[in-house]
Each structure stands twice: as C-alpha cells, then as structure tokens.
Amino acid sequence: MEIDWQPVWLTLKLAATTTLVLLLVGTPLAWWLARSHTRWKEVVGSLVALPLVLPPTVLGFYLLLMLGPNGPIGELTQSLGLGTLPFTFPGLVIGSVIYSLPFVVQPIRNAFEAMGERPMEVAATLRASPLTRFFGVAIPLARPGFVTGSVLGFAHTIGEFGVVLMIGGSIPGETKVLSVAIYDHVESLEWEQAHWLAGGMLLFSFIVVFSMFLLEKRLRRSGT
C-alpha cells in the first residue's frame, strides 16, 4: 500500500499560510476589540465569532456564490485580472481565514483585555511611543494569547472539511487537503489508506492539544 503524501504537505502549507495571515489580520482586530469603547464593538465581535456556530457548509456555500464569476467578490477579482478564487489555493486560504478567525482573535483579545490599561499607561509615562508600547509592552504581555491563538488556528485549519469540500474541487496539489483525501478514500472503499491518514490525524491532534495545555501552563507560571 502506498500513502500519498501530497495532501499532507498541502494541508500543512494551508494551515501555516492561514495562521500567518490570521496573526497579521487578527492582531489589530483583537486589539481594537479589546480597547475600543464604541457600541459597534460587539457587533464586530459577534461577526468574528460567527464561524464558531455556523455549519462550515453554510460558509462554503456563500463563499462559492460570492467568489464565483457572478458574485461581488468574483467580479472584483476578475476585473483585477486575478480570475476567480474557488478551486485555487488562495481561495482555500481565504475560506480558512474566515473559518478559523475566532480561534485566533478570541484568545488574543482575551490576553489584551486581561492585561488591563495599566502597563500601557506606565509605558506612556516613561515616554514610550505608541508603536514601542504596542510591540514592546502589549505583545510580550499577551504572549500566551498569541501562542494559544496560533496553535488553535493552525490545528483548526488542519481539520477543516466542509468549506474545502464546497469550494475546493478536490484538485491534487492545489485543493485536495487531508480531510478531503480521507473522505475520498472512505468513499472509494480504500479503508486501509483512510486508516493511516485518519489515525495520523488523530495522533497529531492529540499532540497539538496536549502540548498546548503544557505550554499554557508554563507560560502562565512564568508570566506571574
């Protein structure tokens, strides 16, 4: 029996890219959610949390319509000469970013909130510039939130299935990720291959969650 490793690498690449994008997009968003006082804050907060409760097929279905040639985003990408996004790797990244958004934003936001106003005020009295305050004080203090967010975002993207199934098209090396490969194996009665991949996934997930607990414990201890 031969194991096809391509879906494994593709999945890792997708999860790594998604996590990176989420840290870049999610950090300012989490900062704003933690610090802002506008009424709109909780509306945005709810939108961010929405993927937690929505079935992935709902997300996938709307993405297929929105990103497709007749959808608003599809029309935009076409007019920019980028073509349409479904069935492409960048399309999957966009889907995964939305899908895993709450898993990254929420822990970072919690960490920013837990830190309170005080450290930033102290830093300001020491004449630190806003940028220095943010990168030199806020981010190091919120480190546990960043670690938790990255691990959860990465792991959650690895386990993504519904969204990819809806907008992926199962193209080897481009959109055929691990969960879809397992599904295809089961559907084609190739249960042995399915077992190898599914078993590996189980082990991987356990290790991720377990090491996250250990890490969090250690960070918390060193933080206080």
Partner: protein, 247 residues
Amino acid sequence: MNNRIRLIAFALLLGLMSTQPLIAGKVRIAVAANFTAAMREIAANFEKSTKHTTVISYGSTGKLYAQIRNGAPFEVFLAADQRRPQKLEIDGLASERFTYAMGKLVLWSSDEKRETSKAALKRGDFKRVALANPKTAPYGTAAVTTMQRLGIEAALRKKWVIGDSIAQAHQFVATANAELGFIALAQIALDDSGNRWDIPQTLYDPIRQDAVLLDKGLKNPAAAAFVSFLQSPAAKVVIDKYGYATE
C-alpha cells in the same frame, strides 16, 4: 366534564387511526443523490397508493454503502451503480437486486451563450469543467470514459474540478464557477436553463442504477411493497420523466 373530554379525545384518536389501514408500515430507504427529484415523486405516489410511509436518506452511493455495511437501519437501497448493490448481495446483506433506472450523461452549461458540444469540448476554450469523482461516482466514471473516447482526456485533465457527488458537480456549473460540467440529465430534466449536449450513449458504458432489498427490510411488508412499487409501470413513468431510461 373531565370524562367528556376524555371521551372526545378517545373518539378523535379512533378517528385518526381509522384513516389508515392496519397494515400501514414505515420503510427506511437510502437513495443515491442523483435520484433525489424522481424519488420524491415516487415516494409521494407510493405513500398515496399504499398508505405506508417512507423515511428517506439521500447521499452519495459510497457513503450510503459504508453506512449500510456498518449497521445503518436502511431497508431498501437505491444506488447509483451496480457495483455497490452487488457487493452487498455477495456479502449476504441484500437480495432481490434489479436495475430501476439507467442514467443519461449530459454536458451542461448554465450560460446560454456557451456552446455545449463535442466541438466545444475539443476546442477547450473554457477554464474549468466539472465532473463527479470518477473513483466513487458512476457519472464521474462515465464522464472520464467520454473524454477518453473523444481522445481529449489528457488535454482536459488540468481543467477538471471534482465534485464529491454529481449534485456538487451540478452546483459548480449552476453557480458558474465551472463553465461546463458533466452531470446527470435527471438533474436538469425539468429545467430548461442554459445549454446542454445529450452525450451519445456510445461514448460511455451504460450507467445502470441498481436497487436491493436489504436484510433489515426482509420482514417488513412495507419494504417489500416499495420494492415492487419501484418496478411498476406507474413508477417507470416518473423515472422516464426525470430523464432516465428504464428497461
């Protein structure tokens, strides 16, 4: 007062019960996704003429097969192929296998301005062509055979987008994410939108869709009734109407 209410309730209950014959039963049926529309009508007719009720699960043939093998409570299985019902028969989980419908493959575009023909396929002036997974879905296999017999499989392979089932292949074309797609005639038989090319049946092997009576339904008269209803002329009229051939 209390007694009178009880009496009325009892009378109502009797009235409800008497509208159904004593033999009315329930049959659980697993149906391949491509047969969904036809099945809805057949089930409604069946329920009307026999007073039995149906509980129907739709899904891809491979998934339903895996569920049946693992103890799903289905009593009748309408597959999209012959292979899976045959396997169940060999494993002693099913009996009374018969072909209830023969599928027809079409090339479809939801855009009326797009040409759907052999020539259009050969020209290849499109970005994507959707098909169902050839490893699991018979319509996917038929699509690949068609492309092979036209000698364009290698050229088109890069443009394939694979749907989990024929329903998803249809969805990719309906949302215009794929310009063309190989789908089942049944999916658009009652819908005139877009363009379609009825692929000549010499270009693919017949898509025989078989049904079986599963072991769980052996002792259920409603299951037996449904199996015979599915082979009746009344059911065949519906099956034809939805774009299948019958024997």
